[in-house]
């Protein structure tokens, strides 16, 4: 089921939580709403679910306006951040709740509940109380409860934020697998860039109630529309561009020259301040590098080592693979040489 949001504005009193949001979600697509807390992503989600009254705009589902429908009639199952499992019911009763409400037959309910609990890898826990479950198990019950009613769309409100890192990774794989298997149109709210990239077909980045960019995960990462998106999507090295800046001159005699199309000098005719973006993996540390900087800090996180380099008063973060075998010396205070690989796509973003 395709969903279209048209010019949606939501307010809490005078505070604008969502400002003129437009979005089309394809049938069977998984969209991630990504942004820092308070950016309006949960408000938007709850508006789609009908749990918040719509202030302005309209929501279309298969070209039918559902803005006026009560939450009960939207068939949009939600997985809540705190799971919102009913503490006075067992696991099976929680999962069966939506079916019972919709007057499903008891024998069918039993069958469906067992099937779905198998699906989320929770067999045999039917009679457990909610308080006896771990966080990960509670999360799976919440997922099962939403899936079992065969909803037209699934809405996830930061479902994994209360779990530890390892559990998060396995849970998001399960959610993605099930979502693809059932081909349910889904919206996934998160503040975790990694989670958004790994789980969704497309990402919607939000800030202060305004949609900043909509795109494929790779697009949003490689071609951020502005500085905010660039910094929110992973680690970004951003150098402010200025005609008279020494950095540009430095860059111009480096590899920069090889990709003339992106020449910052030409682009800077525009009055707006701009930044040059490159990711840590674009920085190649090595003795033959064209630029020289001073190591401020370094930390090894398993496979990669992150080095913070002072480069003409700017901090640049570089990634070194296989640091222990590379023979590179990253001791704080040492000089280090590096290249910046800008051969790729557009690297200039508005400030």
């Amino acid at each position: 089921m395709g969903i279209e949001l048209k010019e949606i504005t939501q307010k809490y009193g005078d505070l604008i939580a969502v400002n003129n949001a437009n979005l089309f979600i394809e049938d069977g697509e998984m969209i991630a709403l990504l942004g820092p807390s308070g950016c309006g992503k949960t408000t938007l989600l709850k508006t789609i679910a009908g749990l918040l009254p719509l202030h302005q705009g309209s929501i279309l589902s298969n070209e039918k306006d559902i803005s006026k429908l009560p939450p009960q009639a939207r068939n949009a199952a939600m997985v809540f951040q705190n799971y919102a499992l009913f503490p006075h019911m067992t696991v099976a009763e929680n999962v069966a709740y939506g079916l019972k409400i919709n007057k499903c037959e008891p024998s069918l309910i039993k069958k469906k509940v067992e099937e779905i609990l198998d699906k989320v890898e929770l067999p045999g826990l039917n009679q457990r109380k909610i308080s006896e479950l771990s966080g990960g198990q509670q999360q799976r019950v919440a997922l099962a409860r939403a899936l079992v009613i065969e909803p037209a769309m699934l809405l996830f409100d930061e479902p994994l934020s209360n779990l530890d890192q390892n559990l998060r990774v396995s849970m998001r794989r399960m959610i993605r697998k099930i979502q693809q298997e059932y081909r349910i149109t889904s919206i996934y709210v998160t503040h975790d860039q990694e989670e958004a990239m790994s789980i969704s077909d497309r990402i919607v980045v939000m800030k202060d109630g305004v949609i900043q960019q909509i795109g494929l995960p790779g697009e949003v990462y490689l071609k951020p529309r502005n500085r905010f998106v660039a910094e929110f999507m992973g680690t970004a090295n951003l150098l402010e561009l200025n005609e008279h800046d020494r950095i540009i001159q430095l860059l111009e005699c480096g590899k920069w020259a090889s990709s003339r199309d992106n020449c910052p000098v030409g682009a800077s005719n525009n009055r707006q301040k701009r930044c040059l973006l490159f990711r840590p993996e674009d920085v190649e540390v090595g003795a033959e590098g064209r630029f020289e900087g001073t190591v401020i800090w370094h930390e090894t996180i398993g496979s990669v080592t992150r080095v913070t380099i002072d480069f003409a008063g700017n901090e640049i973060i570089a990634e070194i693979r296989n640091y222990y075998k590379s023979g590179i010396n990253c001791t704080t205070g040492e000089k280090i040489r590096f290249n910046i690989d800008l051969a790729g796509d557009s690297h200039i973003v508005p400030n």
Binding site: K46, A49, L51, P53, P70, P71, Q72, A73, N75, A76, A77, M78, F80, Q81, N82, A84, L85, F86, P87, H88, Y97, G98, I101, N102, S131, R145, A146, I149
Partner: protein, 564 residues
């Protein structure tokens, strides 16, 4: 270094345990011993039991009826005042709490003024000669008074309901009615059963209302009062007391056992205000209508108390007068002073002991804490008047009571007939309030705080005074305010133990009521309510002075920033 403070806590624990056994358990046991052992069993089965059984039936009838009505009203008002949006809601939330600070028979005074033999409505307006006395009168008065209690507890439940649970149910397709019946209501069951239990206990223990407006219809509690004051038949009173104790005790512990087993709690509390958006207008209208009616009843009580307090002779002469006020200021001022003295002392000592006990039970690994907790909580299940009888039969013997069982050559110390006994009974009766407040607070105190302080080298005593004491202060404050108001309006526990020299205001009102001096009773009730209010406000200021100073400082900064 560590052992000395530890010893102090241990000593305190032993002392408080012994005195609690002495002043709580012993009197209750004494009632049983006295009632069952000091008469012939033939009397018991032939004469006493049929009579007690009659009162038992009356008591249960009244209590069950009142429990159902009050709890329903409490639930209804909670839903209306916290979930339905309408004009005047906030004012109603305040008004509905008014009965909490007033002596228990304010409603009864107003009731007689309106519906009594010379009542404004029944006699003057309708010209009727009907009598409001009996079952209906008792049930009406108790229901209105206790609905406030039920409201207080149930509204706290509805306010802390996890909204996302309701959203989840809605999201899964449940209608508003279904959401309420399958989610909201089941989640409030613990508070609803507590409210019902407390209403039941209070109704069972209430002897004043039946005495004043019961007429021929008396209950166990009121019969017990008559046995002592009218007939001075202590054995009969003790047996009545046993019969009063059994259903109260059962109700208390069944509720406790049940809710302990089925305790469900929401992990996440959403403080945000929510309203039912899709209530049918007819239901909304009914909810608001019934709640308004309830609030109007409450307000009318006070309105008529005020009017009655300044009326020459209600029912006969409606001229304005200051006579009642002058009378009280001349004659009964001492009883007000005594009330305040008692309430402040009890509030302070009882709350302090309770919170300290909670701290020791929760943090120290001392033996028999569970048993002690049970004994401390016993007064919660015991009608005050029963505990009063217990003190009466126990402490009229020397050596603080156990002299009856021990031969002694010492000079006898008899507590009964001293001024201190009413302080003791109130203090020990209310320790559980401070203890529960302490427990509730300790749940929210990070247990690592203590360990952190010990880890930094603090002694056990320092840990208590530097870390735990400041953290436990809110529990003390809450218990203090609660115990102060309870003691100001208590009567049952102390009515047999008071002396002419330390009479308290509530007892005076009760006596004036029984002799039907409406104007004087109304004036006293009005003054006592005002006094409670003034003191509560003063204590609020005193206990929260830091917060208030902070606010004042902020306000001053704000003003000075405006000038610039």
């Amino acid at each position: 270094m560590q052992s000395r403070p530890s010893f102090i806590f241990k000593l305190f624990y032993i002392l408080i345990s012994l005195t609690i056994i002495y002043f709580v358990l012993l009197p209750i046991v004494s009632v049983f011993v006295y009632g069952l052992l000091s008469g012939s069993s033939a009397d018991l089965s032939n004469q006493i039991l049929p009579q007690v059984w009659k009162y038992m039936k009356n008591s249960l009838q009244v209590a069950l009826f009142v429990t159902i009505v009050s709890t329903s009203f409490g639930l209804l008002a909670s839903i209306t005042l916290w979930r339905v949006k309408f004009w005047g809601r906030k004012l109603m939330r305040v008004l509905v709490l008014m009965p909490l600070i007033s002596p228990p028979f304010v409603g009864t005074v107003a009731f007689i003024m309106l519906f009594g033999k010379r009542g404004l409505i029944t006699h003057s307006l309708l010209g009727l000669e009907i009598s409001p006395y009996g079952f209906h009168g008792i049930v009406t008065m108790q229901s209105i008074g206790l609905a406030t209690l039920a409201y207080l507890l149930i509204s706290s439940a509805i306010r802390k309901t996890d909204v996302s649970l309701e959203e989840a149910a809605r999201n899964l397709g449940a209608s508003e009615k279904k959401v309420f019946l399958t989610i909201t209501l089941p989640l409030m069951i613990p508070e609803i059963t507590v409210a019902a239990m407390l209403v039941f206990l209070t109704s069972m223990a209430d002897f004043a209302t039946p005495i004043i407006i019961g007429g021929a219809y008396q209950t166990l509690a009121s019969d017990l009062y008559i046995q002592i004051t009218g007939l001075y038949n202590v054995q009969m009173a003790s047996i009545t007391g046993i019969f009063l104790f059994i259903p109260c005790f059962a109700a208390f512990f069944i509720q406790r056992y049940y809710s302990g087993k089925n305790l469900v709690y929401s992990q996440y509390v959403t403080p945000e205000m929510i309203e039912y958006r899709q209530v049918k207008p007819i239901i909304k209208f009914m909810l608001i209508g019934l709640s308004s009616l309830f609030v109007i009843f409450v307000v009318f009580q006070y309105a008529f108390i005020v009017i009655g307090a300044f009326t020459e002779h209600w029912g006969y002469n409606y001229a304005f007068t200051l006579r009642h006020l002058e009378n009280i200021l001349n004659k009964n001022l001492a009883s007000f002073v005594n009330s305040v003295k008692l309430a402040v002392t009890v509030g302070f000592i009882s709350s302090l002991l309770g919170v300290l006990l909670a701290y020791i039970i929760k943090t120290k690994d001392y033996p028999l804490t569970r048993q002690l907790d049970l004994v401390v909580t016993l007064p919660a299940a015991t009608p005050g008047i029963l505990l009063g009888i217990g003190y009466l039969v126990t402490f009229r013997y020397p050596l603080l009571g156990i002299g009856k069982y021990v031969l002694t050559g010492f000079e006898p110390v008899i507590l009964l007939g001293t001024g201190i006994i009413i302080y003791l009974i109130c203090i020990y009766r209310y320790i559980y309030i401070g203890m529960k407040a302490g427990y509730a607070l300790m749940e929210h105190v990070n247990p690592n705080l203590e360990l952190a302080a010990i880890n930094l080298g603090a002694s056990e005593r320092r840990v208590f005074f530097d870390i735990m004491f400041p953290l436990l202060k809110p529990a003390f404050n809450a218990a203090f305010l609660k115990n102060f108001t309870s003691t100001m309006t208590t009567l049952g526990a102390i009515v047999f133990l008071l002396l002419p020299k330390n009479k308290v205001a509530v007892q005076q009102i009760f006596q004036i009521m029984t002799s039907s001096e409406i104007g004087a009773a109304a004036m006293m009730a009005l003054l006592l309510s005002l006094l409670s209010l003034v003191f509560l406000a003063a204590f609020q200021l005193l206990l929260n002075y830091e917060e208030i100073f902070k606010r004042l400082r902020e306000a001053r900064q704000w003003v000075s920033s405006l000038r610039k």
